[in-house]
């Protein structure tokens, strides 16, 4: 037998607990992301410790460090870009709304949406009745 990569998916799938399994899935992604954030922190801490050992940094120097005004401005612009990109998916919706005109062509789409909303509302009442 030649070497095969190890299997990573679980036979029989995984259990879900929320009414909509999407919630479990999103939570899983959040935790994996949290793990990567932690991983970065450990790496940064390692880098800092190495620098301190080598004399490139003094202990606590980063905590006392202040950016120069031009660096601060640069960072601030980058932070805005970062936050914008984080919520890009919501912006898309807004862009689309602003692009669409209340012309006759929009009418069927609107009708469809209100129909979808109605059926959603019906489902919600049905659930409540249960």
């Amino acid at each position: 037998m030649s070497r095969q990569p190890m299997r990573r998916t679980i036979r029989g799938g995984r259990p879900y607990f929320f009414d909509d399994p999407a919630i479990d899935k999103v939570l899983n992604m959040v935790v994996v992301l949290a793990s990567e954030v932690w991983t970065l922190r450990e790496r940064l801490m390692a880098m800092e410790a190495i620098q301190v050992t080598r004399g490139g940094l003094k202990a606590g120097e980063i905590d006392r460090f202040e950016f120069k005004p031009e660096d601060e401005a640069n960072l601030s612009a980058q932070r805005k870009e970062y936050i914008d990109s984080l919520f890009r998916v919501l912006a898309e919706q807004v862009d689309e709304a602003r692009r669409s005109k209340p012309a006759p062509s929009a009418a069927p789409a609107k009708a469809q949406r209100s129909k979808a909303l109605k059926s959603k509302a019906n489902k919600a009442t049905a659930r409540k009745k249960k």
Partner: protein
């Protein structure tokens, strides 16, 4: 994260170690903090509501499960526990995948070393029972027996390294706290028991088998399992630790050992992994291969009959959500009945609750040999701070 001490440990990058640290921390949080939070939510909200509606308290684990299932806290606890369980294996696979060729070389070197004292006997064309070959227990992809190349031992390494992340220190520095706590306890409690031959059933990577050799150095120690990749790994692992253990690929339902050939027949966390029909056969075989005067001892999760409704529900969680289909059915059985049906004298039934030697330290653990704690505790068999190991068995 616990770093394995033996030569088969995987080389990991800084980031891989950090991911493992995170998962261990997450597991400790879920199993200590969230678990105790869930108990408080149950006591304050779920149980009172049940009492208002039913005019009584929940009578068993399934009733508690039904009552708590719709609660948001239960859902978060559960989905986070599944996530953490999955991340245990996902944190090991990348470094393992990279290290596979080297791992195989190391293992071959250890197994072939001149001072190798233990042995490995695999069976060509061995039939792995379906309750192992058809499922991924503990959500571990590939299970114990999955093989990805010739003479593969990746599954053994996945389990060893995964267990190190999974146990967040509660299974000892060498993942042998169960073996050390129990083998040592038996030695203290029964100084006249001087076993010549000891058998460990369903030993996987032999992490608890070696403890018997440590506490009974004069004895010949054997471990059996159905999964070849775990046994290959177990053999190399035992050699790396200079422990003389003999591993065999064998099904515990049909042992290839003569009658009355062992003084101690042991297993740990094994019976709950097999269906009821097989458990009966395994108990019969244990009786058969045991010498008169010998001791059968199974370390297990405590039976539902000896737990409160809530604690039963808490342990049953694994059966419903951690790919452990035989776990609750096993825990619904009465261990004393199992022993009796296999031929053991009911008067010779024994059971113990043994404090983890790693967690409590030697003093408390030694005292327990004279006065073991009660079964009914939320620490018995539960991976949490202050864990107590449960075991039962009988003298032949």
């Amino acid at each position: 994260m616990l770093e394995l001490k033996h030569d088969l440990r995987l080389a990991k990058t800084r980031d891989e170690k950090a991911r493992m640290n995170f998962v261990s921390g997450l597991r400790a949080h879920v199993l200590n903090d969230l678990a105790s939070g869930m108990r408080s939510v149950y006591d304050a909200k779920v149980e009172p509501q049940f009492r208002r509606e039913q005019k009584r308290v929940p009578k068993d684990g399934p009733e508690v499960h039904k009552a708590i299932k719709g609660n948001d806290y239960f859902k978060f606890y559960s989905t986070l526990r599944v996530t953490a369980q999955d991340m245990v294996w996902q944190s090991v696979i990348p470094p393992l995948e990279r290290n596979r060729p080297e791992l195989k070389q190391k293992a071959a070197k250890l197994a072939g070393k001149s001072k190798a004292r233990g042995t490995l006997r695999l069976q060509p064309n061995f039939e792995v029972p379906r309750y192992v070959s058809a499922i991924d227990v503990h959500l571990m992809a590939g299970n114990y027996d999955g093989e990805y190349e010739k003479d593969d031992l990746a599954a053994g390494s996945l389990y060893d390294n995964g267990l190190a992340v999974f146990s967040f220190g509660l299974m000892g520095q060498n993942l042998d706290d169960i073996g050390q706590s129990i083998a040592g306890f038996i030695r203290l409690k029964y100084p006249n028991l001087q076993p010549k031959k000891i058998l460990d059933l369903g030993c996987t990577i032999g992490h608890n088998t070696g403890s018997w050799k440590d506490h009974f150095p004069e004895a010949e120690v054997h471990g059996i399992d159905v999964a070849a990749p775990c046994l290959r790994y177990a053999h190399a692992r035992a050699e790396a630790q200079d422990r003389t253990v003999h591993f065999h690929q064998m099904n515990a339902e049909k042992l290839d050992f003569p009658d009355a050939s062992f003084d101690v027949v042991f297993s740990s966390m094994f019976l709950h992994e097999v269906p009821k029909k097989s458990i009966a056969k395994i108990m019969n075989e244990a009786y058969r291969v045991l010498k008169p005067g010998g001791l059968m001892l199974h370390m297990e999760l405590p039976p539902n009959s000896q737990l409160s409704a809530y604690d039963a529900f808490y342990l049953d969680w694994d059966s419903a959500y951690n790919n452990e289909p035989f776990y609750k059915p096993f825990r619904d059985l009465r261990p004393e009945d199992l022993c009796q049906k296999a031929g053991f004298d009911p008067k010779k039934y024994v059971q113990f609750v043994i404090p983890s030697v790693g967690w409590y330290g030697e003093k408390v653990w030694r005292e327990a040999a004279t006065r073991p704690p009660e079964v009914d505790s939320d620490k018995t068999g539960r991976l949490t701070d202050g864990i107590l190991w449960y075991c039962f068995g009988a003298w032949k």
